[in-house]
């Protein structure tokens, strides 16, 4: 479905881009993603799928986990694409205003939406959904490349912005370095064993007790993958890149590739982990320890909000890797739950940030990423109380304050870590999440309690947030709050997916 829509959209954009506006392409892409998510939901036949079916002559596999994550990726992708609505509606209304003087001064300030943006997004969704279901080294590499090429192009798609171009170039160079690591590892595996399929690797790994060559090459692949999810020793590119690109693109870069890559690491671990305590576990544990610490300590000194979010992403990746490293049933369950709740919260934060930027645009802010500094949000609670409260709720949830959904994610991860005997890492995780609460709280303090300094009140026009994005913000925020009253659907589905992974 995604494939066909990509092909039709290429033709459509080439031919009709003058007649169909970019926002319509955006909406079409959203509908496409929702529909393909529905198709993927429709094909979850747990009985038939069992422990996995190899499709396309064993190069790809379908399990319960790939199908459900596919649904999730499509829905989150549709949500992130919906972010584009805000800015385009902004241009639409300003064009319709008819006040010519105002119009000419306003046009440059909006983020122009390109018709190609949803197209490239669809390409990367195609790569993601094939990555999570790949079961061969070559198909893994091809899907990773498809996904990350699209993401590199997305990073530079607003080519008029210098910072975005620099960030995209950096992302491209470092991303291709990590791809080279992955390629080196897979070629070593092929050189040592002559196998490319994960099934064969799994059999080889389960027969030998310790296999040095495979271990090294698998480690190289995992290093490449960790590079791409910006886990800690390989995190250096993340804050720079995320800070450089426009906020709308950043929401895609932060949320989406991580989901597919982390789920792929989960599956790859299932195929190639030799024993319970192998180099896999150590690598993931070390990386999680470092990303927890660097993510929190680095975030403390940030005054640009997007760098702060990048560091918070690194620390959350640390939690996810901790859950992955333990690799027991409850930890995988907590991993899936954490992934789902974190992506939802993150998308919500970006919606609110873009809404803030949209409301603040009249005060001469940068067009590509309106809210750059935390101080720009000063006293916004007086202006937009609801947006301020929802941002506070999101940040509380990220920090792990009890009644919100983020608390349960952290609690599950920590519980499984303690249960497995990783007391030190659990302690580090608790401490770092306390420290990270400090920088979330600082943002909340700036929004709510700092005095609102209005120097140019006459310029502030009464623009409102569009209905679509306010609907999304409201829904996601309510989801974060009221999760505690009806936690069963999400928890049970994560539990069932995990059980299907372990007991088939």
């Amino acid at each position: 479905m995604v494939l066909f829509s990509v092909l039709t959209m290429i033709v459509a954009i080439a031919l009709f881009s003058l007649r169909i506006s970019a926002i319509n392409f955006n909406r079409i892409a959203i509908i496409v993603l929702i529909y393909s998510g529905f198709l993927a939901y429709n094909t979850i036949y747990t009985d038939l799928v069992g422990s996995g079916i190899g499709v396309f002559s064993g190069l790809f596999q379908i399990t319960a986990i790939t199908q459900s994550i596919d649904v999730f990726i499509c829905l989150i992708g549709a949500l992130v694409l919906l972010l584009g609505e805000n800015s385009t509606i902004g241009t639409g209304t300003s064009l319709k205003d008819g006040v010519t003087v105002k119009q000419s001064s306003m046009i440059g300030k909006y983020l122009p939406v390109l018709a190609e943006y949803p197209l490239i997004v669809l390409f990367s969704v195609l790569g993601m959904s094939s990555l999570i279901s790949s079961s061969d080294l070559v198909s893994m590499f091809l899907s990773i490349e498809l996904q990350s090429f699209a993401v590199y192009i997305l990073a530079t798609i607003y080519r008029d912005s210098e910072s975005a171009t620099a960030a995209g170039l950096k992302y491209f160079l470092l991303g291709s370095l990590s791809s080279a690591f992955i390629l080196l590892g897979s070629s070593l595996i092929y050189g040592f064993t002559g196998l490319t399929s994960f099934e064969g690797l799994y059999m080889l790994c389960s027969t030998t007790t310790s296999n040095h060559a495979i271990e090294i090459s698998v480690l190289l692949i995992v290093v490449g993958l960790l590079f791409k999810v910006s886990a800690a020793p390989f995190h250096n590119w993340a804050p720079d890149v995320y800070d450089g690109v426009p906020t709308m693109v950043m929401s895609w870069l932060v949320t989406m590739p991580k989901i597919s890559l982390l789920v792929f690491i989960l599956e790859f671990q299932g195929f190639t982990q030799l024993s319970n305590w192998s180099s896999w576990t150590y690598l993931l544990l070390i990386s999680s320890l470092l990303s927890l610490m660097i993510g929190t300590i680095g975030g403390l000194s940030q005054y640009r909000i997007k760098r702060l979010l990048a560091y918070s992403t690194i620390s959350h990746v640390g939690f996810l890797l901790l859950a992955l490293a333990i690799n027991s049933e409850e930890s995988i369950e907590s991993f899936l739950f954490y992934l789902i709740q974190y992506s939802l919260t993150n998308v919500n934060v970006f919606f609110i940030l873009i809404a803030f930027g949209y409301l603040l645009h009249s005060r001469g802010l940068a067009p590509y990423s309106p809210v750059q500094f935390i101080n720009q949000l000063k006293g916004q609670f007086q202006m937009n109380p609801l947006l301020g409260i929802s941002l506070a709720i999101c940040l509380f949830s990220m920090a792990g304050i009890p009644p919100l959904v983020g608390f349960f994610g952290k609690q599950m991860v920590l519980y499984s870590a303690v249960h497995n005997g990783n007391f030190f890492l659990a302690l580090v995780a608790i401490l770092t999440s306390v420290v990270s609460a400090a920088y979330y709280l600082r943002v909340i303090k700036v929004i709510h309690f700092d005095p609102y300094t209005v120097t140019d009140t006459n310029v502030v026009n009464k623009e409102t947030v569009t209905t679509s994005s306010s609907l999304v913000i409201a829904t996601l925020t309510l989801l974060l709050i009221f999760f505690i009253f009806n936690p069963t659907p999400l928890l049970n589905s994560a539990h069932l997916i995990t059980l299907s992974l372990f007991y088939w």
Binding site: I53, F149, S197, M203, T207, S210, A213, I216
Partner: protein, 212 residues
């Protein structure tokens, strides 16, 4: 005789690979790059991998390296800056680091610093590989769901490269595996190429403004 030739070719390719990095003039280094490719393709052809060797010759030497040469000649880089860089010792400073990393990597691969319980690892790996091949040919593991659904699953795990290459001519075997069993690779690769075509257009295309 053949082995001596192979060794010579391997040595030549490594030597010209080093010369690519060390030579100061970019044009000369591109010429050495071409010599690397020629050496490698001769090596492959001597080994009997004709198709890939010829592809190396055609694609890399014929197209890519010549393109490099054109770009380098058109860029008109000042040689003075390059020599200054070398005199500062940027190259020689990084040499020990490269030697350390490289030797560590080779050590990890060639020897086993951690003693494993399996003795004589390399031979056991190859034996195991044969066993696995046999297993995967005879039984279709994990494919029970397929069998119950009445769909044959044998093609799923029939991708043993070595068998494919001995029974056909090389070009035939590449083509047959690419267009039958591994058809999906072709599709994904074509999507990547399509994206690689669209990407530069998106990034560089400036839509002409028309007056409505």
């Amino acid at each position: 005789m053949n082995t001596i030739l192979l060794d010579l070719l391997a040595f030549g390719s490594v030597l010209s690979g080093i010369l690519v990095i060390t030579s100061r003039n970019p044009i000369i280094s591109v010429l050495f790059l071409i010599s690397v490719f020629v050496n490698v393709s001769c090596y492959l052809i001597l080994l009997g991998i004709n198709f890939i060797g010829l592809t190396y010759l055609i694609i890399y030497v014929g197209a890519v390296a010549i393109l490099f040469l054109f770009v380098v000649m058109m860029m008109n880089i000042k040689l003075v800056e390059l020599t200054e860089v070398n005199q500062k010792g940027e190259y020689t400073n990084t040499l020990p680091l490269g030697a350390i990393v490289g030797s560590l990597f080779l050590y990890e691969l060639a020897f086993q610093p951690v003693p494993s319980s399996v003795s004589g690892m390399s031979s056991t790996i190859y034996n195991l590989f044969d066993e696995i091949n046999l297993l995967s040919v005879n039984t279709s593991f994990k494919g029970t769901a397929f069998n119950s659904a009445g769909i044959e699953a044998y093609t799923s795990f029939n991708n043993l490269w070595d068998n494919a290459f001995t029974s056909f001519q090389q070009l035939e075997s590449v083509g047959s595996s690419l267009y039958t069993v591994h058809m999906m690779f072709l599709i994904i690769a074509s999507m990547i190429l399509l994206l690689a075509m669209i990407g530069p257009i998106v990034l560089t295309h400036k839509p002409t403004k028309r007056l409505h």
